[in-house]
Symmetry: C2
Subunit: 208 residues, 2 copies
DNA sequence: TGAAAAACAGGACGAACGTCCTGATTTGAA
DNA sequence: TTCAAATCAGGACGTTCGTCCTGTTTTTCA
């Protein structure tokens, strides 16, 4: 360090940038390899952060995981599920499209690491109340977005007597479970099968 | 040890018994706390087994987990799902009863530790092919049992055009996902909601 | 410009972790 | 009864874990 105290432009701190890189690396590691399976040393190596820097931003590993849930996982659910469904023509069409899109994506990349929320939920929700609160809140927002879309369809005259909240819970559960099976079989087939079954259910909620 | 080499009845080896106690303790720990969250030292303490005894029966932790999957998890799925469904009047009635029974059980014990198969599947299936094979096989047998029951109903004259295999996959996925949501919310509500939705679907597969 | 705070460097720390090793005891077959 | 194999005792081994600590540098603000 002494031989090059000043680089060409002068080195600068980038706290937000480093924090973001840490959270992104942790998101990738936690949702694919798992929370316990990932060591903080792994993250230091991947990001180039030192122990001091890491401890400054995230005193404990748990703090980092909470940030991953709030910043990354919530955002991914929003992007991949809520927005597509809310902007689709109908709830049914939106749900069908999301399933199909994710199935295609999994087949393209060849391996299935599962639903990020589901992966972390099953590993962290059980023993720690802080994790559970955050995870449950994300599940709730996810479900409510779908329920809202169904309510919109109903107001537009869809011919069904379904309960929006209950059906939304049903959709989220089916998706989560299908992803678990997809992970176990390393195949998008369960996802496609479940999408087909759900589509079958919804296709006669005709909107006039 | 030297002061009491011979106890009252004379100590005896019990290899099968010790093996069984180890697998049962590991099953309880792995499916509630998690595989990585459980140390082999924990299991030694809980069962009273020594390092040598443990290493003799299960050279590695992975061997123990494979035994847990094959001996315990497969058996639990058989007991709690396959047998009740196969012996029910109809597939629909069997599925409804299993959901209701498990929901009641969760509410009685106050906490939700999730579906044993699902818990281990999400933690172990991704990176290890040996685990994945065993887990996928259990999922398959589970699905096939339900599909068989639906086929039986169809032969008995049920009025539906459903594909047995696809619908069975759908049921397993919905259950797994509902249990994940139940774990996150520490409530049986998602299970009850999904059961209601599934029942609604199946109630007009009238068997004459 | 000076001082306090924030951001980061780099390693020390004890406490686990999973596995393996040597030897003692028990068991079953000869 | 003898002896090899199976079963178990108990601890050592090196590694890795998450956290904390003492400094140094950079940034902020008055």
């Amino acid at each position: 360090m002494a031989d090059q105290a000043q680089r060409t432009t002068g080195r600068k701190n980038d706290p937000e940038g480093l924090r973001r890189r840490l959270v992104e690396a942790a998101y990738a590691a936690f949702t694919t390899r798992g929370y316990r399976a990932t060591s903080v040393h792994d993250l230091k190596r991947e990001t180039g952060a030192t122990g001091g820097a890491l401890a400054h931003h995230f005193p404990t590993k748990k703090d980092l995981a909470l940030a991953v849930l709030q910043d990354q996982v919530a955002e991914i659910v929003e992007e991949t599920w809520m927005r597509p469904v809310l902007t689709a023509a109908t709830a049914g069409e939106g749900i069908r499209a999301v399933f199909a899109g994710i199935a295609a994506e999994l087949e393209a990349q060849g391996s299935v690491s599962g639903c990020p929320l589901n992966n972390l939920a099953l590993e962290l929700a059980r023993d720690d109340a802080d994790f559970r609160r955050v995870i449950d809140a994300i599940f709730l927002r996810w479900r409510d977005a779908i329920a809202d879309k169904i309510r919109t369809d109903l107001r537009a005259g869809a011919a069904t007597t379904i309960d929006p909240e209950a059906f939304a819970t049903f959709v989220v559960a089916t998706y989560s479970g299908a992803m678990a099976m997809a992970k176990a079989s390393q195949s998008a087939a369960p996802l496609r099968t479940c999408a087909e079954q759900l589509t079958r259910l919804m296709r006669d909620w005709r909107v006039p």
